[in-house]
């Protein structure tokens, strides 16, 4: 997955502060967490940075598929094993008779379900990573055998 350093290296690194941050590194972190967009950096649209801009667009393209919590699902890698569905602490709390004991989810409040052989994210607002007071829980990504899900 993309790192803030990779984004920083493609930014102008001029510390112009036009984006509202004190440094380009801070902007790189904001771009990664999708709080800012490339358009917020006017210097980047200078023709001399055209190459870097194109590379940045390419680098940040996968982030557009991410949910509000930053979850990205790679359908082609998913086994549909449901490890993430059963391991997710919110699924366990909201669905004690279904996904908590290894069965298919029986509650509407679960975050992850398996549909058509691959994992789907249904209620991202229930996730511990949602909102400003998020907890960096990684139960779903840590239990994935094929790295089919990841957070940005």
């Amino acid at each position: 997955m993309v790192s803030a350093m990779e984004i920083y290296q493609l930014l102008p690194q001029a510390a112009c502060k036009e984006c509202g941050y004190v440094s380009c590194m801070a902007l790189a972190v904001a771009l990664l967490s999708r709080e800012k967009k490339l358009e917020d950096c006017p210097s980047l649209f200078d023709p001399k940075y055209a190459d870097k801009l194109n590379k940045l667009k390419e680098l940040l393209a996968p982030l557009e598929q991410a949910s509000e919590t930053g979850l990205i699902i790679h359908d082609e890698k998913c086994f549909g094993c449901a490890n993430c569905v059963v391991a997710c602490p919110v699924n366990v709390a909201n669905d004690p008779t279904g996904s908590a004991i290894g069965l298919g989810p029986k509650s509407d409040k679960v975050i992850l379900v398996i549909e058509n052989g691959v994992v789907r994210c249904l209620n991202p607002n229930e996730c511990r990573r949602f909102g400003p007071n998020r907890i960096l829980c990684n139960a779903c990504t840590a239990t994935c055998p094929s790295k089919a899900i990841e957070f940005v």
């Binding site: 059963v86 069965l103 058509n116 055998p145």
Partner: protein
């Protein structure tokens, strides 16, 4: 709710929404199960005799003729059929005085025979979910072979006595020749050289006996033995890697399990692949006292000469039910089978149906026909058809062949 017959976990919580000629949405199906369900809509077989399309009645008549006139027929497959079809198959073998064998003779047969005869202690997968605190996958990679094994039973779910689940109360140990998908998830992974399973087992026995191990990293091996000793309830899931490595030295594994049961409580659940292989083995054990490799010629005879790998060379006709031995078996055996008069009952096209004299299409069990099957841990599961179909089930086809004979 439907039952998935894609592997021997027989998941019962599948929800499928259908539209004409396709699956609109399937819930809780793993990738493998999804493929199994989608297979319904491609490469289906049609009744044929010697490559030419014919009617079902003619195909069944021809099949009966071939089997009736054969001097030494072999009936093979069975692991992908319901218990009802397997029962009729065994009756057919008796009537024809034929050899009968299934995929277990080169799969988990050795271990399953010991489990079914009570020589190895076993338990259900529900016991594993509720009580087990150590799960050992030995020469098995359930993430790929049985994708929902870890999430439904062996590692991630909360059980009645294991409420804290994998975070605190369960250990997963993988012993394998490569870092498999399951090994990446487990708490302890032990890499062994190919064929090193016997030495590994002996090393664990030595530590349990208070001796130093002569295999692998001593510190890690002693750590593993200590995990084994501290466990309240351990479940060992041996895969084909262990079976093929030990071959004739299976008593070493038996000794290890016996020794582990001296210090704690350990059960063995073989990682059966096909959805009803264990069902066939249980039926055969009740009927004959052996789980496979039987000849009904002049009584009941058991021996490796009746296994598909040996009988393929001597049999003049072979009935294959729900299996593709020409793809799965070594070339020399596959060639012998292809040269014999092959009758295949299969819902889908395969290399074996392409080489067959007679092909009889059947309904896919679990999807187009109902029945009962035995899960890998011995629990019997009933299933109903979820798709309407005019095709005959394996059981009906075999009954008609028997009537024709």
């Amino acid at each position: 709710m439907a039952v998935c017959t894609g592997c021997s976990l027989l998941c019962e919580d599948i929800e499928v929404a259908l539209k004409t000629g396709a699956i609109e949405k399937a819930k809780n199906l793993c990738r493998k199960g999804q493929g199994h369900f989608q297979a319904l809509f491609s490469d289906r077989t049609v009744p044929s005799v010697e490559g030419g399309e014919t009617s079902l009645d003619q195909a069944i008549e021809k099949a009966a003729n071939i089997l009736m006139n054969a001097k030494d027929p072999l009936l093979y497959g069975w692991s992908n059929s319901s218990l009802e079809a397997q029962k009729v198959g065994i009756e057919l073998a008796k009537k024809l005085e034929a050899k009968i064998d299934d995929t277990s003779s080169f799969c988990q047969g050795q271990l399953l025979e010991r489990v079914l005869k009570g020589e190895l202690p076993s338990c259900t997968l529900d016991d594993v979910r509720n009580f087990a605190d150590v799960s050992v996958f030995w020469g098995a990679d359930p993430s790929n072979s049985h994708p929902r094994h870890l999430s439904r039973f062996s590692y991630y779910p909360r059980g009645s006595k294991r409420q804290k689940g994998y975070e605190e109360e369960r250990n997963c140990v993988v012993i394998d020749v490569r870092k498999s998908s399951t090994a990446k998830l487990c708490s302890d992974y032990f890499r062994i050289p190919p064929g090193g399973d016997a030495e590994f087992a002996e090393a664990i026995i030595a530590i349990l006996d208070g001796k130093m191990p002569r295999f692998g990293d001593k510190k890690r091996m002693i750590g593993l033995a200590s995990i084994f000793k501290k466990a309240d309830f351990g479940a060992i899931f041996p895969g084909l890697g262990l079976v093929y490595s030990l071959v004739q030295k299976m008593e070493i594994f038996e000794n290890l399990v016996a020794r582990l049961n001296d210090v704690s409580n350990y059960k063995v659940v073989p990682m059966v692949g096909h959805y009803n292989m264990r069902g066939f083995n249980e039926l055969m054990l009740d009927e004959t006292g052996y789980i496979n490799q039987i000849s009904f010629k002049n009584g009941v005879h058991h021996g490796s000469e009746n296994s598909v790998t040996m009988a393929a060379k001597s049999s003049d006709a072979c009935l294959v039910v729900g299996s593709d031995p020409l793809s799965a078996l070594p070339f020399v055996i596959a060639r012998s089978l292809a040269k014999s008069q092959l009758v295949v009952i299969d819902p889908r096209r395969s290399l074996t149906t392409d080489a067959a004299k007679v092909v009889i299409p059947s309904a896919m069990s679990g999807l187009e026909s109902g029945g009962k099957a035995v899960r890998m841990d011995g629990v019997r599961i009933s299933f109903e058809p979820i798709f309407e179909s005019n095709l005959l089930s394996d059981e009906e086809i075999l009954t008609r062949i028997m009537e024709a004979i």
